[in-house]
């Protein structure tokens, strides 16, 4: 299993971020998102609890095609809790198909920080494929990390549009700086290997 944790800051209030979250698709970085649906939504005290189904276009590398027969869509369930009492917004996302290849779990916590919002993002990638688990984990992990950075950038573009916050549109210099930071984060990211019960992972 591989794990990472990164932090990000949104130059928007927490209320703006949670309102914008429901409108973040489509954006220029979300062309792989094919659909999103609410499966369940309920109010429990001061909490709004939502479950959504998101369909993503699959992207399988050439070497991976032999493992996957004819499935080009990834179905992802996103559970979330808007907690008004603590001003936190938590999302937990997991794939519900293609799990025989790899599982990708992501937990995001958005917390209010005066006029800003801090995002703590954790990710877990695991594959239990005999012989190829390590290769699949490496590929999925790096792809997942770069796609989360792109997804955050896309979300910020939406927030910029909603709240006319021009500074959130990254300039070329900022993009380069961000790319360098992402590369540094990937290099520094905590990569943990754990053995599996059946011993198939390695």
């Amino acid at each position: 299993m591989k794990y990472f944790v990164v932090q990000d800051v949104f130059q928007y209030t927490w209320e703006q971020v949670v309102c914008g979250f429901w409108k973040r698709y489509p954006n220029p970085n979300s062309r792989h998102i094919m659909s999103e649906d609410v499966l369940d939504r309920k109010l429990v005290g001061n909490k709004l609890i939502t479950k959504r189904l998101i369909t993503k276009k699959g992207s399988i590398p050439k070497w991976g095609e032999k493992f996957i027969k004819g499935c080009s869509k990834a179905y992802v369930v996103e559970e979330s809790i808007v907690d008004m009492a603590n001003s936190t917004f938590t999302t937990y996302t997991r794939n519900v198909n293609l799990k025989d290849i790899s599982t990708v779990d992501e937990k995001c916590v958005y917390t209010a920080d005066r006029l800003h919002t801090t995002l703590t993002r954790q990710g877990w990638v695991a594959s239990f494929r005999r012989f190829s688990a390590n290769m699949i984990e490496q590929f999925t992990f790096h792809k997942f990390k770069s796609s989360t950075a792109k997804s955050a950038e896309g979300f910020k573009l939406v927030l910029g549009k909603l709240y006319h916050h021009e500074t959130e549109h990254p300039s070329r210099a900022e993009k380069l700086k961000n790319s360098a930071k992402i590369a540094k984060d990937i290099a520094k990211s905590k990569v943990f290997h754990t053995s599996t019960c059946d011993g198939n992972a390695r």
Binding site: M34, V38, R41, L43, L53, V77, V96
Partner: protein, 76 residues
């Protein structure tokens, strides 16, 4: 953004519009009434039918992970 079932797109759009208005103007201001119940019921019935035709394990959609012991934990 589209629905997983093309036939649900219009119902989804109406519900999303109603929900976003409720969320920004009511929920964040302390209103705790259920959002857009009629639109949600119609949209839900369409989505549930559409999902049945897809290759998705229904138990995976039904189970909850967030806030339960099934959440993944950071390695120690």
């Amino acid at each position: 953004m589209n629905s997983v079932g093309e036939e649900c797109n219009e119902l989804k759009r109406s519900y999303d519009e109603c929900f976003n208005h409720w969320f920004a103007n009511k929920f964040l201001n302390g209103d705790r009434n259920e959002p857009c119940p009629d639109l949600f019921a119609k949209y839900q019935s369409c989505v549930k039918k559409a999902i049945k035709d897809k290759d998705i394990e229904l138990w995976e959609l039904e189970r909850n992970v967030l806030g339960t012991e099934h959440e993944k934990k950071p390695p120690k």
